[in-house]
């Protein structure tokens, strides 16, 4: 599927500048992240422990996967998917339902993710055929979806003796097992957008839908793929969520929505579409996931976390915007 790109989409000078731009973002984020780690270590030398590593990597798991889904929507010009946590919860609930029905593991995983995908399909139908702006669509389906989930499922309990619960606490190659979907998705998304023809189509549609259409890309197909794709990724997050949370409640999504958007924005994804790096997103998620852990080492209560995160976000987007404006002015 990921065949190398044909020449007609190669715009050499543009690609080079875009890459270096992402590199700058990645380096800046990486620099800030390392700075945070260094001052934490200076503050308390035992910051570098296995437990800290575990805390940070576990913090990354769900936000990381959801952020990739969200980043996928943003880069493809879908603005934002404000219902991505609903996709996640649908998948979580269905994971439990299928487990209780006795489905085997692959069927359960595929089934749950597909259920989330069906929700994404619903979103995309509203976007593509009714031509309603995705921000409004997902705002509305996010609203209505939360209500429907509450009525249909109320709450579900995950059997702690099940493989789902094991999955949420186990390790694989020294990292949490649940951390790997995010890592693999990051690499996958990076190569998908960089080298595959289909990925390039998403970038083209995100950057300039009209010229993409003129190039013969079907906007409808791309939009459906975008929202179904994001929902499928949300569905993956849902299985992790089921592994983390023995009691699934429909309101749990509220805790993830803002950090996820924050991660995407901090990573330099342009909400106008067409611009963003999944490697930067990985670093951004890592940085944001380190803040709460570091705060505890500094003896600050966790209530400071949101305050600090919020203002980091404002400063970051300001600097980023200023940099772009300056670069354009030259």
């Amino acid at each position: 599927m990921s065949r190398l790109l044909s020449n007609r989409f190669k715009v050499p000078s543009l690609r080079k500048s875009a890459d270096s731009e992402y590199l700058a973002t990645i380096l800046v984020l990486l620099g800030v992240w390392i700075f945070l780690i260094v001052i934490s270590v200076i503050n308390r030398s035992d910051f570098l422990s296995r437990a800290t590593f575990g805390a940070i990597t576990f913090n990354m798991c769900i936000i990381g996967v959801l952020a990739i889904g969200q980043g996928f929507v943003v880069i493809s010009g879908g603005i934002l998917d404000l219902s991505i946590t609903v996709s996640m919860l649908i998948s979580s609930f269905m994971t439990v339902v299928f487990y209780e029905l006795g489905w085997n593991t692959p069927a359960l995983i595929i089934g749950s993710i597909l259920c989330a995908g069906a929700f994404g399909l619903f979103n995309s139908i509203l976007v593509v055929w009714l031509k309603i702006n995705p921000l409004i669509v997902t705002l509305a389906t996010g609203f209505a979806g939360g209500g429907v989930l509450l009525i249909v499922f109320d709450r579900k309990l995950v059997d702690p003796k099940s493989w789902i619960a094991d999955f949420g606490t186990s390790y694989l190659f020294r990292f949490p097992t649940a951390w790997w979907p995010m890592a693999l998705l990051t690499i996958g998304a990076h190569f998908f957008f960089k080298y595959s023809r289909f990925g390039r189509h998403f970038l083209a549609v995100g950057g300039n839908p009209l010229s993409a259409k003129a190039m013969g890309i079907s906007l409808k197909r791309m939009r459906v793929s975008t929202f179904v794709g994001a929902a499928l990724i949300g569905g993956i997050a849902g299985i992790i969520f089921a592994g983390f949370t023995p009691e699934i409640r429909p309101n749990a999504g509220t805790y993830y929505m803002l950090p996820v958007i924050a991660a995407v924005v901090l990573a330099g994804f342009s909400l106008a579409g067409g611009r963003g790096s999944f490697l930067a997103l990985f670093v951004s998620v890592g940085f944001l996931s380190t803040i709460p852990t570091a705060l505890v080492f500094f003896g600050l209560k966790s209530i400071w976390e949101t305050f600090i995160q919020g203002f980091i976000l404002i400063i970051a987007v300001s600097i980023d915007a200023y940099r772009i404006v300056k670069a354009r002015g030259r």
Binding site: G168, P246, S302
Partner: protein, 350 residues
């Protein structure tokens, strides 16, 4: 222009339509007793504390031939205050109230007192309202003591860390329950050092308490024997999971409150027990007070947690005992069939 103008005209028209019909006030015949319930709005909890309606109250009202009305406070302060006005408008004869935003209870009380509507409040005391619920402090202490016994047995009263998973939003209830558990723990193991207790915001939610606990465990890397207390079961299970996630070298034990995650067969292996209140069945107790109000023999006001109108007996259960207690949905079905009993009498292990 014309659009705006005619829109203004329409608005005025709507209001004048309202105004015209206003004089038709209610002239009611002999009023029927009307039981009203303001649900707490906590997702995933059945009964008056939850979002999905209170089947016990409804069944009880139906059996008595009363009118029944319920709204949800949605865990939101403005909604809770608005609901108080709705209750007044509905001319309720009595109200069962659970409000997760207790800071606005005085305002609500003022409105209901003006309309002379007697209120039964669940778990959160308010002067002038019949208090129905658990002795939070007592329940906390009982749970803490039970956990203390386990700590004494297993760790010789020397845990490395005691995590207090608070839910500060619940105000005094949190202080009593979580604080009570600490007191209970200390009553068995008085020599645990003060520095071993780490309080944090868990919000009574796994999604919040779990990551917060992971960070605290990371900041105390040498601590491996972890005891967890908290506002409710979810707030305790989160940190237990966090310890398991950080490695198999951790040993964690927790004792919950409210029994929301202890019943049935899907119980966290480290949740050693909980204090069941059977809160989904609170309304079965409420009828003691309600029946008296309906007979116009309202009982003497008892509005404090220490001086409650109806005291729900706490039912501390170990995880082993809890295996025989079915989950809330099953319990509620059974109780709705026979509302003369209480869940405590049906299910609490003797």
């Amino acid at each position: 222009m014309s659009l705006k103008k005619s829109m203004a005209i329409k608005t005025v028209a709507i209001f004048s339509a309202f105004a015209l019909i206003i004089p038709t006030t209610n002239a009611t015949a002999a009023p029927k007793f009307k039981l009203c319930v303001a649900l707490g709005g906590i997702p995933g909890i059945l009964g008056a504390l939850g979002t999905s309606g209170d089947p016990i109250a409804k069944a009880g009202a139906k059996a008595r031939g009363w009118d029944y009305y319920e709204v949800s406070n949605k865990l939101d302060a403005p909604t809770a205050v608005k609901n108080a006005d709705l209750i007044v408008q509905q001319k309720c004869s009595a109200l069962i109230q659970f409000n997760g935003r207790p800071e606005v209870n005085p305002t609500i009380a003022k409105k209901l007192a003006k309309a002379k509507i007697p209120v039964i409040t669940y778990d959160i005391a308010q002067p002038g309202w019949y208090f129905l619920g658990i002795d939070n402090l007592g329940a906390g202490k009982a749970g803490g003591a039970a956990l203390g016994k386990l700590i004494k047995e297993k760790w010789n009263c020397q845990p490395d860390l005691v995590l207090e998973s608070h839910g500060y939003g619940a105000g005094i209830v949190d202080s009593m329950r979580t604080g009570g558990m600490v007191d209970g723990l200390k009553s068995v193991c008085p020599d645990i050092d003060k520095s071993k207790f780490k309080a944090f915001e868990g919000n009574g939610e796994i999604a919040v308490s779990q990551p917060a606990a992971r960070d605290i465990l990371a900041a105390n890397p040498t601590a491996k024997k972890i005891a967890v207390v908290g506002l409710n079961d979810a707030g305790v299970v989160g940190p237990l999971l966090a310890a398991r996630q950080l490695g198999s070298d951790y040993e964690a034990m927790g004792w919950g409150q409210d029994g929301n995650l202890i019943a049935g067969d899907k119980v966290d292996p480290d949740l050693k027990g909980s204090v069941l209140y059977f809160l989904e069945g609170y309304s079965a107790y409420a009828f003691e007070v309600l029946d008296a109000i309906a007979k116009k023999q309202a009982p003497k006001m008892r509005d404090g947690a220490v001086n409650p109108a109806v005291l729900v007996k706490p039912c501390p259960v170990s995880a082993a005992q809890a295996q025989n207690i079915p989950i809330d949905k099953v319990r509620i079905k059974k109780l709705a069939k026979d509302p003369s009993k209480t869940l405590y009498s049906i299910y609490c292990p003797k």
